[in-house]
Subunit: 338 residues, 2 copies
């Protein structure tokens, strides 16, 4: 009883020169591919998110309207549905799961799109946060295939500050002795809860907390209720090794760190020919607009559109802030019409 499909990838050699044998790409599609196969959109998942957690931006009457478009949501490796530490067979399971890059992810997503569906052109690639990281990869790696991109609250390369923020998240999770270097038999709940508390200060802005939007907009009874109910609630059900796998993917995100661009970041940005709206949140504490401004200056066809929101990183998703959803939806509509 699953609501998603599996694309069998076979044996996948990763950038790390390790092999995921019998790798699987879990995905879900919305709408129908037309006869000309020219109405497809790819919309990758975010850190820890699964395909259904992308659905807030898909719907009849919205820009990503399944009556018009064929929306493919591929699940990231490590997210628990595609091949992950929690579901990989021995010997590459749990703590032995290999490092996977965003490049590795997008290369396999490309296979899904082309081999499974025979699609040669994409109307749009879009995504939030790590979904944005994958979006940039699509633009840089397949410039003749991708007509438009709209990465939001993300970046083409993990900044040093963003890396440090994630070091704190990782340290909190792994400080729990129950983590047992990744060989736990039951979840390291203390570490997962600690990680959630560390994340809480980063996810929303100073102004969000000052205005008490956790209570007044999201309906929690108190700050502590928000920390437990929302934040610990996000991370407790997820697998610790999966979270660490995706965290590594995030920290090492860089569209130029591959055989195509050999670390030349400006060159990789310049390769993104797609028409692009780059949409950071003005108050995002780990994806500040300044990093995107650098990107846009090196991209031939990109426009910086800062979301004027106090919801911090969560201006971008996952549907938490209704006003920001409208802003994103309107931008997607405008971009798709162009």
């Amino acid at each position: 009883m699953t609501d998603y499909e599996i694309f069998e990838l076979g044996d996948v050699v990763l950038q790390s020169k390790k092999t995921l044998r019998g790798a699987k790409l879990a995905y879900k599609t919305y709408g129908a591919l037309n006869a000309k196969k020219d109405n497809a959109i790819v919309y990758p998942t975010w850190y820890s998110g699964q395909h259904y957690e992308n659905e807030w931006l898909i719907g009849e009457g919205m820009a990503l309207d399944p009556r018009k478009y064929f929306v493919i949501v591929p699940n990231m490796f490590g997210n628990g549905l595609s091949t992950s530490p929690s579901n990989a067979p021995e010997p590459y399971n749990q703590a032995r799961f290999p490092n996977v890059t965003a490049y590795d992810n997008v290369r396999q997503q490309y296979r899904l799109v082309t081999e499974k569906f025979g699609i040669e052109s994409l109307e749009l690639v879009t995504g939030w946060s790590m979904g944005a990281l994958q979006t940039y990869h699509w633009g840089a790696l397949y410039p003749d295939m991708v007509k438009r991109i709209l990465p939001f609250a993300g970046s083409a390369k993990c900044s040093r500050h963003n890396f440090v923020f994630l070091e704190g998240v990782k340290a909190a999770l792994t400080a729990d002795a129950a983590f047992q270097d990744g060989w736990y038999r039951s979840p390291p709940t203390k570490g997962l809860r600690a990680m959630a508390r560390v994340y809480a200060g980063w996810g929303f802005s100073q102004a969000f907390y000052r205005e008490e939007l956790d209570i007044k907009a999201m309906g929690y009874a108190s700050l502590e209720d928000f920390l437990v109910g929302f934040w610990e609630g996000i991370f407790l059900p997820r697998d610790a090794n999966n979270l660490l796998t995706m965290l590594w993917t995030w920290q090492n995100g860089d569209i130029s760190n591959n055989e195509v661009f050999n670390g030349d970041f400006p060159k990789a940005l310049a390769a993104i020919k797609s028409k692009a709206f780059i949409m950071p949140s003005k108050t995002d504490l780990y994806f500040p607009p300044e990093d995107n401004a650098f990107e846009v200056a090196h991209m031939p066809n990109a426009e910086l559109r800062v979301i004027d929101s106090i919801w911090g990183h969560f201006a971008g998703g996952p549907g938490t802030s209704p006003a920001d959803v409208k802003t994103l939806d309107a931008a997607l509509r405008e971009l798709l019409a162009s």
Copy 2:
């Protein structure tokens, strides 16, 4: 062989209605009190800091010149020199150490200033971060005694976002099983290192890391060298219960949360008659200038002077950023001359 003095406080009843028996206030003075006793400055310590870590702002030729002023640096309760979990006798030692407020601290500092030295007027109270919190308390509680205050990179009340940031720090430290609910016999080093990594993303700004000032200005060889050498180096030598005691003091900082103001924060701000320069750092991630702007709007004699720096919270101290030290020193000079 200590470089500080002890003022015996006797039995101190705290706001929490617990009694610190035989409490001690460790302090150090710089310069000499003049005959009229009208050249004194109080300069409280910051989170985890001890008196010698305040000395970067004191010196001949600087605004806080010991040839002219008598500078008193009182150590905060919980900092390991004044009465703290690490040095308190049973039964209030270690994990049983009571909660101490900034109000508790400043009330005892007042006793040191008046009972020990017979001082009736202070030229200035100043401090960084939690030192700023204590500075605001001095202004609100002793308005006829304090001529001037200059709190920098701090606030009169812990904001909700700041509280959440500290929840992350606390959760990382206490996730370590070696912490043993505060009854450790050897330090919970994994938790202390995790706490340091969490703190690292908060202490300096996104721009600081983007510009690689950890390497280019502070001389570390790499980002990881900075995380270990600077950040883990700060917290590893400090006692975990002490850190948690001061963290509680910080999280519960509020100049109005006492019998004088009964929780009326605007009223407490309005009580600060001292001429005040309020100096946040423009890029401070947990003491953003917006919170200080609210304060200044309610203070009768205060001016907001934002430090234009990318050093984040560390624009304020402890002497890490030479340009910002000059800015602070010049402001102190101007305020003292007025």
